[in-house]
């Protein structure tokens, strides 16, 4: 067709969105797993001991921690229960391995239902290749979901009056 150069971004929109990169849309601004996830959650590596990690987690005010490798790939999580274990335990033995992970573009309503249905207090949000984007807390997901519903009710009421 006479174009100077045509390139194909083979991995496409899914790759872009899963990397947590911004997009444009008429739904822009609606909360998603990625936009509500916290980016300050403590992380640790397999080589550490539970005792060391517990001290660090307490100092941050969190009650959970994500286990990652040197490339930020999520390997497991340590929740309240796991953090009460023997301080001499290795992280590898203490952690809950292979947690369910979620992509940044999942709408917050869907996340809220998932976290309640599966009784998950936290959920790692990752890129498509498993790298940590943030940690989503159930209470944050529920709050964002209910705030969104309240706004939509207010908008409907304003339009009806």
């Amino acid at each position: 067709m006479g174009f100077v150069e045509v390139m194909d971004y083979v991995d496409g929109k899914l790759d872009w969105v899963a990397a947590g990169l911004p997009t444009e849309s008429k739904d822009a601004g609606k909360p998603t797993a990625g936009s509500i996830a916290r980016h300050d959650s403590p992380t640790c590596e397999l080589s550490e001991s539970l005792g060391e990690v517990k001290k660090r987690v307490r100092a941050t005010g969190w009650d959970s921690c994500v286990v990652i490798n040197s490339e930020q790939v999520v390997l497991g999580t340590l929740g309240k229960k796991e953090l009460t274990g023997d301080p001499e335990l290795s992280i590898e033995r203490a952690m809950r391995s292979g947690p369910s992970t979620y992509r940044p573009f999942v709408p917050i309503g869907e996340m809220a239902h998932e976290l309640v249905d599966r009784d998950l207090p936290i959920a790692p949000v990752t890129t498509s290749d498993g790298r940590l984007v943030g940690l989503l807390k159930r209470e944050d997901a529920l709050r964002a979901f209910h705030e969104g519903r309240a706004h939509r009710r207010d908008d409907s009421a304003a339009m009806a009056s």
Binding site: M1, G2, V4, M7, D8, G12, K13, T23
Partner: protein, 66 residues
């Protein structure tokens, strides 16, 4: 035959290329890469002639590699 590129190069080329999403309009409306325009695949050849500047490099993308 188009050259295959990855995400890092798409980001590096931002502003210097025309980004084109070839999915149907409904998919484009849900979300699209910043600055992209929509030329659905079925109409791509027809629309491209009238919409795109042949002197400007083009990056096309779909949903994924499937």
């Amino acid at each position: 035959m188009p050259r295959f590129i990855e995400r890092a190069e798409v980001q590096k080329l931002a502003g210097r290329t025309r980004l084109v999403e070839v999915l149907p309009a409904r998919e484009f409306e849900k979300n699209h890469l910043p600055g992209a325009i929509n030329l659905p695949l079925r109409q791509l050849e027809t629309l491209a002639r009238h919409t795109l500047d042949p002197a400007r490099p083009v990056v096309v993308y779909c949903w994924d590699s499937a």
